[in-house]
């Protein structure tokens, strides 16, 4: 699966980093950074957890 972020929506809750630390990171500005745009295998489950827990809907799965 491919992951994308909309940093302008991020408020730095940090839920994504908590559920999928290999995919998401909170930087020094306390905003989300995508560590990798492509996720495979068991990491997909973590990424989906992270997406469902983002209060600002700032991270999502690219469907195109």
């Amino acid at each position: 699966m491919r992951i994308a972020v909309r940093r302008e929506l991020c408020k730095g809750h940090g839920q994504c980093e908590l559920f999928a630390p290999d995919v998401f990171e909170i930087d020094d500005d306390a905003l989300v950074v995508l560590k990798t745009g492509t996720v495979t295998g068991s990491a997909e489950k973590d990424a989906r957890e992270a997406i469902s827990h983002c209060p600002e809907a700032a991270i999502f799965e690219e469907t195109a």
Binding site: K11, G12, H13, G14, E17, L18, I26, D29, A30
Partner: protein, 441 residues
Amino acid sequence: MISAQEADELTKVGPGTATGAFLRQFWIPFLPSDAVAPGGEPFPVRLMGEDLLAFRREDGQVGLVDTACAHRRAPLLYARNEGCGLRCVYHGWQFDLAGQCTDMPAEPATSRFKQHITIKAYPVRERNGVLWTFLGADEPPGLPDLEWNLVPRENVHVSFRVQETDWLSAYEGEIDSAHAPILHGRLDTTSKRSNTMAARSGRPIFDVVQQDFGVSVGARRPIGDGGELYWRVNQFVLPFYTLVPPKSAEWAELTGHAWVPIDDTHTLCVGFTYLPDRPLKERMVDIFANGHKGRETGHPSRLAYDETIPHNEPYWRFISRYRRATNFQFDYELQRETYFSGLPGLWVQDSGTQSGATFLAPRSHEHLTSSDAGLVVARQAMRDCVEAYRASGELPPIATRPDLYHVRSVAAVLKSDESWTEALEGFIRRSGGAPLGYEVP
């Protein structure tokens, strides 16, 4: 003259109102310093319709912040006052003086979410026992050079009380000096009165002048054969200050109020009495603080406050036992033998008549007379200021020049052909702790 409806509009002070936007460009005296103790209970206030909490950190610094936690809106009234600020008791979020969230104990240790979270916070300054705040969005000017808040503490008595009146009605109450000998009259006064004192009971004639600080209202009354005039010049200083002249040579204190809008229907009455160049007499301070023979005087006594008010009521500590809910303790029998009004004490008489027994009728009920000349000009001046700010952001010079607050009220006897504005200008513009410079009649 502005319409009654336009005047009523000046009483709407909440966020987004034209009057509220104008008034937010001025510093506001909002609490005495001792209302908040280091590390003590936060104190709820309401200023121009905004509910806020004042608190003093253990290091002595004072904050003024929103009442609700930014997490799930829990009341910060119950917050723990510790360390850098208030810590919400619900999930432990902590906020500093600037409203910045500094701690979220239930979040992962690595979370930086708190960096994005702030609550509303306003700057606070402290000077001579009074806390000031500024609700405007821009950088505030210097604190106003108001003499009552600059003289040594022993020279001044300052009191705070809540009145159930819109701020303009309270302000106008002190502009309308014709009420004083009537409303505040006593039936049991037997002392001999001087010619000047007697003249005060006569019908005054008013002369109103717009000034760079606001409005001067000169009231003259003839003395003796009419060759001399007794002048009392009250000052109305933008945006909500009144200054009242000394009453006699023996009681030469300058007095006045800041009429701070709590919301559209309540006012924080900040009263001050001071001598510019020497301490107040102990007897006077004792009477202010403890009342006189069980009655209220020009300031609320320590017995005036209602100690049963719950602490979640804004300004709970300054709500008096003399209010609509207690019928201002009006006593018809007092009218027969003691007070003309039957209202028990000087400030209670003002408060009772300005608040209405059950509600305050709109200004469309009014019929203003010649003695209301000052009030008419002050309303117009206020309306002009509010409109200028709304239309173009223009502020009067006093909004950015603290030195324009160097103003005093004056009482003087002048020859009948003398110009009061010229003769008294030097005494009106005197400030900074200098003696009055004249003998109070």
